[in-house]
């Protein structure tokens, strides 16, 4: 009885510990993009116009992520230039499969070389649902020497059963593969089994005998003749010949079975940036500060409109965070319905002078981007950067709703008391 009580007590305590442990477990909500230094996210790749055509899909159903990115002219010295890049996606494992990807309309299965700073690129990634669940998916640009930089992520809900997933492929030699997931697996397992059986035979041939201490003593007594006999040698040589025969015979058979094979394909392609749109804007930042207690970035900039139409400031975006000028008539349609709401600042963009900048006019405007997102997205560690600077894109709109954008950036001062 006492033992039963003791066991029950231990069981209850164990259950309590496990239960408390489970309570503290939470699912991962992001992929570490906030852990990247702010200078990486604000001064390298600026994603914009990112759209997801679906947020709920079934297994085997496709969805598309499209958008553009600007490679910032004021590229940090600490980061390798985008000489070799690869367009990809961030996801928690292969919950979705990649069907196609394009950079400026060119197939992006391989990497691209020599992308140009200060230019824009258009991307498209087609993905397919594989494992049911709810996943956070990002477009991503990997830069050799710098690492991956993620665009704005969106939650995608996949319904159905993983068992229904299929990835049929037809090879260039005419082999019909019903499902890429299982291609070549049983053949590989069969060959592993052959080698394991041979290894097991060789090991058991020796391990079945008296092993360590008696063999060591016999060796000390100089009786090597008993430890390794002529029969052992004969069996060993026969096994060795068999192994060599299987290796080269199997190789020859595989060559005959698959006469047309290619080496692994890896390399870079060249892609031209998007054509330079007409840019009627010049921005000169005269002062920028980050108000630490107020969580507010304040930029004073001289903006010149050298075009023929008045231009209004519509949006400031950096590191996927968007500040929309709510006073602009185009504000309502500025954010696509599929864009993640958690990356749009509630406070918006506050301007000291929201009137359109007239053609030929140069105006000094104080731009105020205030939101807790600066902290939440971990974009304010200016004090830890070796060059305390900020960067981003400023979007303008003309009376017909046509957008233009320009880079904005420069040194920034952290301020620890309210100005």
């Amino acid at each position: 009885m006492t033992i039963i009580h003791a066991l029950r007590r231990i069981g209850l305590r164990l259950a309590a510990v496990v239960g408390l442990g489970l309570l503290s477990v939470s699912s991962a909500m992001a992929h570490g993009e906030r852990a990247q230094e702010p200078y990486l996210r604000t001064r390298t790749v600026q994603f914009y116009d990112v759209q997801y055509d679906k947020s709920h899909i079934a297994v085997n159903e496709q969805f598309t992520v499209t958008g553009k990115f600007r490679l910032m002219q004021d590229w940090p010295d600490a980061v390798s230039h985008p000489d070799i890049v690869f367009l990809s996606t961030y996801s928690p494992g292969p919950m979705v499969t990649r069907v196609e990807s394009y950079l400026n309309g060119m197939p992006a299965r391989q990497s691209f070389s020599k992308l140009e700073l200060g230019r824009d690129y258009d991307f498209k990634v087609v993905l397919k649902g594989r494992v049911p669940g709810r996943y956070h998916i990002h477009p991503m640009l990997s830069i050799k020497g710098s690492g991956p930089l993620a665009g704005p992520g969106q939650w995608i809900e996949i319904s159905g059963s993983k068992a229904d997933f299929l990835q049929p492929v037809t090879t260039m030699t005419g082999i019909q593969v019903d499902n890429l997931e299982t291609y070549g697996t049983s053949r590989a397992l069969g060959w592993y089994a052959v080698w394991i059986v041979l290894a097991a035979f060789w090991l058991l041939f020796w391990l079945a005998r008296p092993l360590l201490i008696p063999r060591w003593i016999a060796l000390q007594k100089g009786r090597e003749d008993v430890l390794v006999t002529g029969r052992d040698l004969a069996v060993g040589i026969a096994l060795g010949v068999l192994v060599v025969a299987i290796s080269f015979g199997g190789y020859a058979y595989a060559k005959k079975q698959y006469p047309y094979v290619v080496p692994l394909q890896a390399g870079t392609n060249k892609v031209d940036p998007l054509p330079k749109g007409h840019s009627d804007i010049e921005i000169k930042v005269t002062k920028s500060t980050y108000d630490v207690p107020g969580r507010s970035m304040r930029i004073v900039a001289q903006i010149t409109n050298s075009g023929t139409e008045p231009l209004s400031i519509l949006e400031f975006t950096t590191a996927n965070v968007r500040f929309i000028n709510q006073q602009s008539p185009s504000a309502a349609g500025a954010v696509h319905a599929s864009f993640p709401k958690d990356l749009v600042a509630r406070g918006g963009l506050v301007l000291s002078d929201a009137r359109p900048i007239q053609p030929g006019e140069t105006r000094e405007i104080k731009i105020d981007a205030t939101d807790a997102m600066w902290e939440r997205e971990r974009l304010v560690s200016f004090l830890t950067d070796v060059d305390s600077k900020f960067g981003g894109l400023l979007f303008f709109v003309n009376p017909t709703g046509e957008r233009q954008h320009a880079e904005i950036g420069g040194p920034i001062l952290p301020v620890f008391t309210e100005l």
């Binding site: 991956p148 290894a199 008296p210 360590l212 430890l227 080496p263 692994l264």
Partner: protein
């Protein structure tokens, strides 16, 4: 080998004495083990075998992952130039050290096969668990290579030559040279060409593209260098030959390391050390 034959007056071998001699000529007989000692010794054998398997399954897998990593991890990393070159050089190390230990102390020519089997056991556990169960990648994306073929032949060379140096020269070379053909039989289907977005890709490339690895951009697979392309289709055999050459030296070094690591060394004590440890010298 010493034979002591006891003959009866008619010249025939005496049955009882013959049986005794036969028993004395076994390993247990030479060691002087009776039935109880033999049973205890067998139990010790089992414990050591279990310990060796557990220890070296972990150690060789860790060693391979640290030094070869993605080359063994992913099917679309098994390229024709560096995979047949790098992998045998990495894989031969532990088997060579184990050969030295098993052979020099016990005259067991199984060290390399033990190492190869331990690695096979490790990947048989880790690949399905890490990639299929935990992260949902298909198994054919993470097929490992095997070194059992080369390991058995290396053990056979040790059995023939009974010598570390010649085993390094012939066995080390054979270990590396057999690696490519014995693994090609497993992986050949993954080099069949297919078309993806108008570009040619092997099936292995396609698997790597279809199942995204966020932290593995395509450009880190760009490793092939121009000079070996001179040999066109035979680049892998050139790599296998060169790998065999490197493995000769690698085997030699790791054989020595195996011996060093399996030897107990004691530092001589002295009065200074004793004083530091608070031990007073007795009169």
């Amino acid at each position: 080998m010493m034979h002591t034959e006891i003959l009866d007056p008619s010249g025939h071998r005496a049955p009882i004495e013959s049986a005794k001699n036969q028993a004395a000529d076994t390993v247990l007989g030479i060691a002087g083990f009776g039935p109880r000692a033999a049973r205890a010794s067998r139990m010790f054998d089992i414990l050591v075998v279990v310990a060796v398997v557990l220890l070296f399954t972990g150690a060789i897998h860790l060693h391979t992952m640290l030094l070869a990593g993605d080359w063994d991890m992913f099917t679309d990393w098994k390229d024709r130039q560096y995979w047949p070159l790098v992998m045998p050089v990495v894989l031969v190390m532990f088997p060579a050290a184990l050969q030295a230990v098993f052979w020099n102390y016990f005259r067991l020519p199984i060290g390399a096969t033990v190492g190869a089997t331990c690695l096979m056991l490790a990947v048989a556990i880790t690949r399905p668990m890490q990639f299929v169960v935990w992260t949902d990648y298909p198994l054919n994306m993470v097929l490992p290579s095997q070194m059992i073929a080369g390991a058995i032949v290396m053990d056979v060379f040790l059995l023939i030559f009974r010598n570390g140096l010649f085993t390094a020269i012939f066995g080390g070379f054979a270990f590396a040279f057999l690696y490519y053909p014995s693994n090609y039989t497993i992986l050949a289907p993954f080099y069949v060409p297919t078309s993806q977005q108008g570009m040619m890709a092997s099936m292995a490339d396609l698997i790597g593209y279809v199942y995204p690895r966020s932290a593995t951009p395509e450009y880190i697979r760009i490793i092939e260098r121009g000079t070996l392309r001179t040999f066109g289709d035979s680049a892998s055999w050139v790599s296998a030959l060169f790998s065999g050459f490197i493995c000769i030296f690698m085997h030699f070094i790791w054989w020595k390391l195996g011996m060093v690591m399996s030897s107990a060394k004691f530092l001589p004590n002295n009065t200074k050390v004793m004083a530091m440890m608070g031990i007073k010298k007795t009169a």
